[in-house]
């Protein structure tokens, strides 16, 4: 009896329950949209590419929770949301929804540009399940919130895009659903309106509404959601606190980025190698004449692990291996950083910094640690040169061949994220 009651209570708290849901899209290799095609293929076995969008997904969302679904493009997050909304049917598994669900995923669904703002409000409202009476009752409130008082009798096609979004958003939040599904809709309107939206969102929390938010922006998820789920290739990778899931996603993106950069490097390297081979056959002497040669550049983190993707605040070590064919000392080692757009970020060399080079001759490489790479998200190139002490003629120079990436959450603009603090 008690267990039964408990179970009952528990199921009451759940807003959305997804049990072992899978979805496969059949992608016909040749899409048949004509009877002739169908008739011709009627006896041949139809060939489909199966695309598994979701594989055996199970999770629960509690009432009153702000739940984020995060993942890269093609991870299945939008498919999942569409299935929650009832737009797609499941292949297997079960979805249980407790409470009134907003059946839409995007703002302004069903709006018609030829109708006025007022007419669209009623049409859009009908699509979201609002009766004429209900909209009549909320009309003043909606118009006031959207700040579109003077434009309600203007055709929607003459609205600015910001005005359209405002109307749509205001209608959506007035659809009085208990469970809201949203597909990246938060950044709407000017900052003034955004503040209102955030306020409205906070009201939702107080009213105990359930919100499911799909995004590929970690910032949004971390900011609004209590819990989140990370999807990858149609599977749940992690489910838990938004903060943790966000970090996991970040890590995953970084390792993906590593692979991409590594593949790119390999491509460039093989290209260069073939160029070098050509160069050798063309003019043997120019190569052999080199008295110092840079052989390899490495990017390392604090643990001496080689990698190509860094976060601001990390330490970046650049290590440059070289070979010396002359005994002459007094070399000058220099390293310069450029960003992808060609801006010169920082150039340093051992003579300017009065560094004793002897250790480098012994090690066979020179190395600099950038203690805190406070750069903004971008690709950065390293150029390095070994010259004679008087700067005159470079023995060897490698310009902008090797690059690393900075991934960062901040949306600040520019090159360097200097340390700063706003006056409080």
């Amino acid at each position: 009896m008690t267990t039964n009651k408990l179970a009952n209570k528990k199921s009451k708290e759940v807003a959305i329950r997804v049990e072992a849901v899978s979805k496969t899209f059949k992608v016909p290799q040749e899409k048949r949209t004509s009877l002739r095609g169908a008739a011709l293929n009627i006896f041949t076995k139809k060939s489909y590419d199966n695309f598994e969008a979701l594989k055996d997904i199970s999770f629960e969302i509690k009432k009153g929770e702000f739940f984020g679904i995060i993942g890269r493009n093609g991870s299945g997050k939008s498919t999942l949301l569409k299935m929650l909304a009832g737009i797609y049917v499941t292949d297997s598994g079960k979805i249980t929804i407790e409470g009134k669900l907003s059946p839409f995923l995007e703002l302004g669904v069903g709006f018609n540009p030829e109708l006025t703002g007022r007419e669209n409000l009623y049409l859009g409202g009908a699509i979201l399940g609002l009766s004429k009476k209900e909209i009549d009752g909320k009309y003043e409130k909606i118009v006031a919130f959207s700040e579109l008082d003077d434009f309600m009798d203007m055709k929607l096609k003459n609205y600015s895009s910001g005005m359209q979004v405002r109307l749509a958003f205001t209608l959506a939040i007035n659809a009085h659903a208990e469970i809201l599904l949203m597909d990246e809709v938060l950044a709407v309107g000017d900052s003034n309106f955004q503040a209102k939206c955030i306020e409205e969102f906070n009201n939702y929390k107080e009213q105990g509404k359930t919100v499911v938010l799909v995004s590929h922006d970690i910032g949004t998820i971390k900011k609004y959601c209590d819990r989140a789920m990370l999807l990858r290739n149609g599977k749940i990778v992690k489910i838990g606190k938004a903060e943790e899931v966000g970090n996991e996603y970040m890590q995953q993106n970084m390792s993906d980025e590593e692979l991409r950069v590594a593949a790119e490097e390999l491509r460039v390297a093989t290209e260069e190698e073939s160029n070098i081979v050509e160069a050798i056959t063309e003019s043997q002497d120019t190569i052999t004449k080199k008295r110092v040669k840079i052989t390899k550049i490495e990017f390392l983190d604090r643990n001496e692990k080689e990698k190509n993707v860094f976060k601001p605040g990390e330490q970046l070590t650049v290590r440059v291996y070289f070979k010396r064919y002359i005994s002459e000392a007094d070399l000058n080692f220099g390293i310069a950083l450029y960003n992808k757009d060609g801006s010169y970020v920082l150039g340093i060399n051992t003579i300017m910094d009065k560094i004793d080079n002897d250790i480098y001759y012994r090690l066979g490489y020179f190395q600099v640690d950038y203690k805190n790479i406070n750069l903004l998200a971008n690709s950065y190139y390293v150029a390095t040169a070994i010259t004679k002490n008087n700067f005159s003629m470079p023995y060897d120079l490698i310009s902008k061949s090797k690059s690393f990436r900075i991934i960062s959450e901040t949306k600040n603009e520019g090159i360097v994220n200097m340390e700063y603090e706003w006056k409080k």
């Binding site: 002739r36 737009i87 797609y88 059946p103 109708l115 009908a126 609002l130 009766s131």
Partner: protein
């Protein structure tokens, strides 16, 4: 309880979509709604001239102008509704992919838009009859029932076509050609008694022929050949075909509609 509440909302949506469709149909045109009256009237004038002045076909039919006008108005509804509904799912593809509501609302709303125009056109017919001093008889009471049958049949065909059209766009031109054939296979410009006796029974099995003749019989005071006079005790057959058509159309639609969002 919850369900009926939901259905009430969907009823609102049907109403709103149908009204919007009606409003947008002639938007931007100078004569607006008048076009839906003028289109059948122009067709009527052309056919009237051809079949009274040139072919003298209409001479044998009493009240031929009204007889012809009824045929054209009814046909106009059938042809317009089926072709508009056929594309209604595909035309609203964007909506279907982004919001859930029972998909059947779309063809129903589209057909209601046409039905509204159709009713207004019928009013014009009665205006003409009053002008020509043609009396209305008690048989007019049959008309609402006949119109319901007509609507159900048209909707059934529309549902079938619209769900097939999502997958096979060939249905578009095929239905266009089929409509041309149906235009002549239905007593619109002629009277059934022109048809040789051995084909007459087949002709009057067609729900369209049965509906058109029944509508004329209820509106016009003059004697009109109907399915019941031709088929005798089998007068139910066209009605059964109507019901079967609707059921087949409805089931086809419901079975395929779950996947519209993926296929459209």
């Amino acid at each position: 309880m919850v369900k009926s509440y939901k259905q009430l909302k969907y009823y609102e949506l049907v109403k709103r979509l149908a009204a919007t469709g009606f409003k947008l149909k002639y938007q931007g045109s100078f004569f607006g709604y008048l076009w839906s009256l003028m289109k059948p009237l122009f067709l009527f004038m052309v056919l009237y001239v051809v079949f009274t002045v040139i072919f003298k076909l209409g001479k044998a039919i009493p009240n031929y102008p009204i007889y012809l006008l009824i045929g054209i108005t009814l046909w106009g509804f059938f042809a317009e509704t089926t072709s508009m509904c056929m594309g209604s799912i595909v035309a609203s593809g964007d909506l279907i992919r982004k919001v859930y509501f029972p998909r059947i609302i779309l063809p129903i709303a589209t057909s209601l838009t046409s039905f509204l125009t159709f009713i207004l056109n019928l009013v014009v017919i009665f205006g003409f009859m009053a002008y020509a001093h043609i009396p209305i008889t008690i048989d007019i009471l049959w008309l609402p029932l006949i119109l319901i049958e007509f609507y159900v049949f048209t909707l059934g065909v529309s549902l079938f076509l619209s769900s097939l059209y999502v997958r096979f766009r060939d249905i578009g031109p095929i239905w266009e050609v089929a409509c041309q054939a149906l235009f002549y296979a239905t007593p619109i410009i002629y009277a059934p008694n022109l048809v040789p006796i051995k084909y007459l029974k087949i002709l009057m099995l067609s729900p369209l022929a049965q509906i058109f003749q029944a509508a004329r019989a209820s509106i016009l005071p003059s004697e009109v050949i109907t399915s019941s006079t031709v088929l005798g005790k089998y007068w139910m057959l066209p009605l059964i075909i109507v019901i079967i058509t609707f059921i087949v159309g409805y089931i086809t639609f419901v079975k395929t509609s779950a996947k519209f969002a993926e296929e459209v």
